[in-house]
């Protein structure tokens, strides 16, 4: 397995306060790691830092062996980050965005249109491909961003709370799509509050507490909790502390 992401000693401050404080994280191809933690624990900040949206106050990040600090544009071509508030162009439709994504990232012309339609249909966006995103609901806009995030087919995909705002059917479909991508080698870093989704997808789960990794659940531990989401939630709560 190839290491897709290697982050060591990540520090990110807002003013004097370290929101992310010395996090180490490696991701290999086909691996799914879920970040858990209370609001303000540093999940989003960590993801934005790893995506190059925020600068580093300490540590280093390599994406496919390329230093994000030194060669940001090249390193960022190996990843896509879908935030909770995706930066969609209000006047453009999902198809417009997909066309731009395909052109900017050099996706194969023969394959991506059908793939985009398939992804959109799976997330129940098939009827709104050509509707400007400003005319879509918040949940649908979020799904548009997820479609684009999956369509990019980058070695590393980072989704910040991907299940938020999704209906049950779409949430289940998203899990299947993520699994499918994982099978083809994409590594995922997800932030989530949902124990059930974590158990369904994750190979590892990291609980952030005060900007540090407070607790890590490996494959074996997660397997032990499968089928008992409440017990897992309790374990996570214990890891978060008082």
């Amino acid at each position: 397995m190839t290491t897709v992401l290697r982050a060591s000693g990540i520090v990110r401050r807002y003013g004097p306060r370290a929101v992310v404080d010395g996090v180490d994280l490696d991701l290999c191809t086909g691996e799914i790691v879920v970040l858990l933690g209370e609001n303000g624990a540093g999940k989003t900040t960590l993801m934005r830092t790893l995506a190059g949206e925020l600068g580093l106050d300490g540590g280093s990040v390599e994406v496919l062996g390329i230093d994000l600090g030194r060669e940001p544009e090249r390193a960022r071509r190996g990843l896509i980050y879908v935030s909770q508030r995706p930066a969609l162009a209000p006047l453009a439709s999902l198809r417009d965005h997909a066309e731009a994504l395909a052109a900017f990232r050099g996706l194969a012309t023969a394959a991506w249109p059908a793939e985009m339609v398939a992804l959109a249909s799976a997330l129940r966006l098939g009827d709104v491909l050509d509707v400007p995103v400003r005319a879509l609901s918040g949940g649908m806009q979020h799904k548009c961003a997820l479609v684009l995030g999956l369509l990019a087919n980058t070695p590393l995909a980072m989704f910040d709370e991907p299940h938020t705002g999704l209906d049950v059917r779409s949430a289940l479909a998203l899990r299947e799509l993520i699994r499918g991508r994982r099978a083809s080698g994409t590594a995922f870093l997800l932030a989530s509050h949902l124990a059930e989704a974590t158990l369904a997808l994750a190979d590892r789960a990291l609980v952030l507490r005060g900007g540090r990794v407070g607790c890590a659940f490996g494959v074996t531990e997660l397997a032990a909790f499968r089928g008992d989401a409440r017990a897992f939630e309790q374990a996570v709560l214990d890891a978060m502390g008082a």
């Binding site: 071509r77 896509i80 930066a87 209000p90 006047l91 731009a100 900017f104």
Partner: protein
């Protein structure tokens, strides 16, 4: 692809722009046709300045904040293609804008000064466009190469003041540098006469081709530093410190001097507070007043003061930021600041000297000498003090502004025959 995406997210009514340019040119052509021949060079210079002042604003907007840049960046667009697309879009605006001299020629065809007028206006538009583009790309590259840009991108690190200074000055610098050949040309025209044996359409075609050839040769040499530079600008636009830096306070006196009513002053205040382009907008407003106002020496003095104000207030903004303990964000690398100030000082001094020489050509030798003296004292002393003392005292900026006023007065009425 960037063009297609941009066309969807930021549509430009090209036909309307072209027709507006043609119509505006036609109106100004009518004004020129009714002007006494001894005033034709003055009015041509002012007209050229009015048409040229649009390009620094447009280029700053298109190149440093491409439409939907956040989205494009997320989707994988590169800075180089985004900037290239911005340049192409602004070039399209330039081509549309060059219909203005065509519109003018519809009314002035057959007049003996018809050729020089078209040439002067076209030269001003293309020259300012090129000079501003060069200054902006240079500033972006410099920002991308800055030592602490990654930290600056985070919003909590430092950001070389030299780089920021270049970007802030780039539009005004582009305007001034681009206008130099125009000022010299009109002065020459006033003193010695000028024959342009080619028609307006040919002038326009040559101007367009020359601009495009130059830009095509520039762009491939713009390196990946543009990406970091462009991202730094994006962060800067979202940061109140940067906004304060780019955007100095309202020159209330300018609003009064331009005889703006309550609504105009309110607009000026809004622009100054919320639009980072406000200094340029103020200069554009002043230029428009200068072009059509009856008291043109005073008006042009105001224009010059507005341009000088760019320099003066920028320094004041830096002082304010220092007081806010935001110096860390700006870096406070005094050597860089001194280098930037020296470059700016040299540009101002060279430009002022050329303006003064142009005034001398036109026979107003006393005022030309005063302009030369003012510029010499203002720019060179200011630069020297910058190098010696580090942070620039407040009065240095105002000295430069005064130098500009003196220079403008030297180019007052009757400067061209």
């Amino acid at each position: 692809m960037a063009a297609l995406f941009e066309a969807k997210v930021a549509r430009t009514p090209w036909l309307g722009v072209a027709l507006a340019s043609l119509g505006l040119g036609w109106l100004i052509g009518a004004a020129l046709a009714n002007t006494r021949v001894e005033h034709i060079t003055d009015l041509t210079l002012r007209t050229a300045a009015v048409f040229a002042v649009a390009w620094p604003v447009l280029l700053l907007d298109r190149v440093t904040t491409p439409p939907q840049w956040a989205t494009r960046q997320w989707l994988g667009d590169s800075a180089v293609t985004a900037v290239a697309q911005g340049v192409r879009a602004s070039f399209a605006w330039l081509v549309a804008g060059l219909l203005a001299p065509v519109g003018m020629s519809l009314r002035t065809d057959g007049m003996p000064w018809h050729g020089p007028v078209a040439l002067t206006v076209a030269l001003a538009m293309v020259g300012v466009w090129l000079a501003t583009l060069h200054a902006l790309l240079g500033a972006l590259r410099a920002m991308g190469q800055g030592r602490k840009v990654p930290e600056a991108l985070a919003g909590g690190g430092t950001f070389g003041p030299a780089d920021a200074a270049q970007l802030i000055y780039a539009p005004a610098q582009g305007f001034v540098v681009g206008m130099v050949p125009v000022v010299v040309l009109t002065a020459w025209w006033g003193a010695r006469g000028l024959e342009v044996p080619i028609s307006t359409p040919v002038v326009i075609v040559i101007a367009v081709c020359a601009a495009w050839m130059l830009v095509r040769n520039w762009l491939p040499y713009q390196g990946p530093e543009l990406f970091t530079g462009l991202r730094a600008v994006q962060v800067a636009h979202a940061t109140r410190f940067a906004t304060a830096q780019v955007m100095p306070g309202l020159p209330v006196w300018l609003g009064y001097a331009c005889k703006a009513g309550g609504a105009g002053r309110w607009l000026g205040l809004a622009l100054s507070r919320h639009d980072p382009l406000s200094p340029i907008v103020m200069a554009a407003v002043a230029l428009a007043v200068a072009a059509f106002g009856p008291l043109w020496p005073l008006d042009l003095a105001l224009v010059a003061a507005a341009l000088g104000y760019l320099g003066a207030t920028r320094r004041l903004a830096l002082r304010d930021l220092d007081a806010w303990s935001a110096a860390q964000w700006l870096g406070a690398a005094q050597a860089d600041l001194a280098r930037a100030e020296r470059r700016i000082g040299l540009t101002l001094a060279a430009t002022g000297t050329l303006c003064a020489l142009a005034a001398a050509f036109s026979g107003r030798s006393q005022l030309a000498a005063a302009a030369l003296f003012g510029l010499g004292v203002g720019a060179w002393l200011g630069t020297a003090l910058t190098l010696q003392l580090g942070p620039v005292p407040r009065w240095v900026g105002w000295t430069r502004a005064t130098a500009w006023v003196v220079c403008a007065l030297a180019l007052g009425p009757g400067s061209a025959k």
